[in-house]
């Protein structure tokens, strides 16, 4: 049996062969395997040079300066470093944080933990299209707000937030730093760390054809009042400006750097191709009837399509397509009993439609044939499950 069509690029992407090759050259005796912290010999210096090249590439892609890049193991660690780092460092200044109900768990869970430790967190509700408006953020800011954490591109519905407007609200407040989880942004939607006025930004390599286990936190070094400070979460070597101790994984950051460079240099036609395929996919699914597109398409990246389908149970829908189509739902599947997507619930979708959603993630290697197969597979599955559930007889 051939492999299922992969439409889960929002979960992870395959490593670009050029990236894999560059990474492999940092692992073996013939390559640059040295410890980039070993300044006393050429092996270390060569590895350090590769690390700095990668740093410059990531910075250039995200609109930051190289010295603003702090390597991490991924966006989850970057989010934790940003949230706990700011909260701890500025705890005497204030203990209030603003975020959104539609954030990734890698932001929500640290916020919940801070609540357990005595901080107050305001969770903003999006409008029905998934948008958090800057005025909402401004209204939520309090005298002791130290951090606002709002993602750029939502990982379930693809909606792009008005980061520029939110950053302006934070700047007017004065002491509320803005953290942006941009794990889904690179290669999908323009994001410029400096121009948008972001203080902290989380990045991930594996969402953009780089390796898993590599990410970065961008920490603004430009002046906006006093320089931004963070309390580190790791100790033990002083690497990464003492913000992230531990030997830098040369092969990982080299892979991330090249992946970001490739994303930066991707032709506009790649985006247009993905957009055309997303539109074709939506038209094919809409023809089923009883299908609802989640998120505002005018404000979403073309790489994500989230659709709720009436008359089918979500877990059965995933199971019915499993052999031919690799997609996901936003539902929490860590236990046997699935929960409706909290993101879709926050948009006001009823529980049944929130639970019966599919998230299609399109990417660089998605073909038109993949899209046609996906439409056919979903159509067959929905038809069978609706017959099973008596939906047509309703």
């Amino acid at each position: 049996m051939s492999r299922a069509v992969y439409l889960d690029y929002a979960a992870t992407t395959p490593v670009d062969p050029r990236v894999a090759s560059a990474m492999a050259q940092c692992l073996t005796l013939e390559g640059e395997f040295g410890n980039p912290g070993s300044a006393s010999h050429g092996y270390g210096a060569a590895a350090a040079a590769l690390v700095e090249t990668a740093r410059a590439r990531v910075a250039a892609c995200a609109g930051a300066a190289p010295n603003e890049v702090v390597w991490t193991s991924g966006a989850t660690e970057a989010n934790n470093l940003a949230i706990f780092g700011v909260a701890q460092y500025y705890r005497e200044q204030g203990r209030h944080i603003v975020t959104a109900r539609t954030e990734h768990k890698a932001v929500l869970d640290p916020c919940r933990e801070l609540e357990r430790r005595g901080w107050r967190v305001t969770y903003l509700a999006p409008d029905s299209s998934g948008v958090i408006h800057p005025e909402q953020v401004a209204a939520a800011l309090q005298a002791d707000t130290v951090l606002v954490s709002i993602m750029h591109v939502n990982n379930e519905i693809g909606v792009v937030q008005d980061i520029l407007g939110i950053a302006a609200a934070c700047a007017r407040h004065g002491s509320a730093r803005l953290h942006v989880d941009a794990a889904q942004s690179i290669g999908k939607s323009a994001v410029h760390f400096a121009e948008l006025g972001i203080d902290l930004m989380s990045l991930s390599a594996h969402k953009v054809y780089g390796p898993k286990g590599a990410g970065a936190l961008l920490v603004a070094r430009r002046a906006r009042g006093a320089p931004l400070q963070l309390t580190a979460l790791h100790f033990g070597g002083g690497q990464e400006q003492a913000l992230r101790a531990g030997t830098v994984a040369t092969h990982q950051v080299v892979g991330m750097g090249l992946a970001f460079e490739l994303a930066r240099s991707a032709p506009p036609s790649e985006l247009a191709h993905v957009a055309a395929m997303q539109e074709r996919l939506w038209r094919g699914l809409a023809a089923l009837g009883g299908t609802f597109r989640n998120g505002d398409p005018a404000r979403s990246v073309p790489h994500l399509l989230n659709v709720s389908i009436a008359g089918v149970e979500g877990e059965s829908l995933l199971a019915a397509v499993r052999n031919r189509l690799a997609v996901s739902t936003g539902s929490a599947c860590s236990s046997a009993l699935r929960e409706p997507s909290y993101v879709l619930r926050a948009l006001g979708r009823d529980p049944q439609l929130s639970e019966s959603s599919l998230r299609f993630g399109l990417g660089r290697f998605t073909s038109e044939g993949d899209i046609e197969t996906a439409i056919e597979v979903v159509r067959d599955a929905v038809s069978r499950l609706r017959r099973l559930s008596g939906y047509d007889a309703d």
């Binding site: 008359g311 089918v312 149970e313 877990e315 059965s316 995933l318 199971a319 019915a320 599947c333 236990s335 046997a336 009993l337 529980p351 049944q352 639970e355 017959r387 099973l388 559930s389 008596g390 939906y391 007889a393």
Partner: protein, 124 residues
């Protein structure tokens, strides 16, 4: 979510799906679509025998698989309102996760409702 081979087989090839009509058909249902699990059984009873079974289910693969098995094995003498196999045995047979075992009670409720209707209208 992991499913046993048997669960996937019955889920993928569920037969006896649909409804029955006629004066000799008895229907029972339980659960709700809004609650995420809804099951309906139709049984055709003649001369004290369940001659045909059909089901509908808005439910997870485990529930659909068990419904399909019950429908397949439900035909036979109309003796009393119990499933062809106990809830515990069905749970074991289909390796139903403990968190989902309550769903088998919904299947049992729907089956018992259909058979009870038959027993009341066609006493043994």
């Amino acid at each position: 979510m992991d499913y046993s081979e048997l669960t996937l087989r019955y889920f993928d090839t569920a037969s006896q799906v649909g409804i029955l009509t006629g004066p000799d058909v008895h229907r029972g249902s339980a659960g709700s679509r809004a609650g995420g699990v809804w099951v309906q059984f139709d049984v055709r009873v003649n001369a004290g025998l369940i001659q045909a079974v059909r089901f509908l289910a808005f439910a997870c693969p485990h529930t659909i698989a068990v419904c399909a098995w019950v429908a397949e094995h439900g035909a036979g003498p109309l003796l009393r309102a119990v499933l062809p196999e106990s809830v515990q045995d069905l749970s074991d047979r289909f390796a139903v996760p403990v968190e989902k075992r309550g769903r088998l009670l919904i299947i049992e409720d729907a089956w018992v409702a259909a058979v009870n209707d038959a027993l009341q209208r066609c006493p043994l």
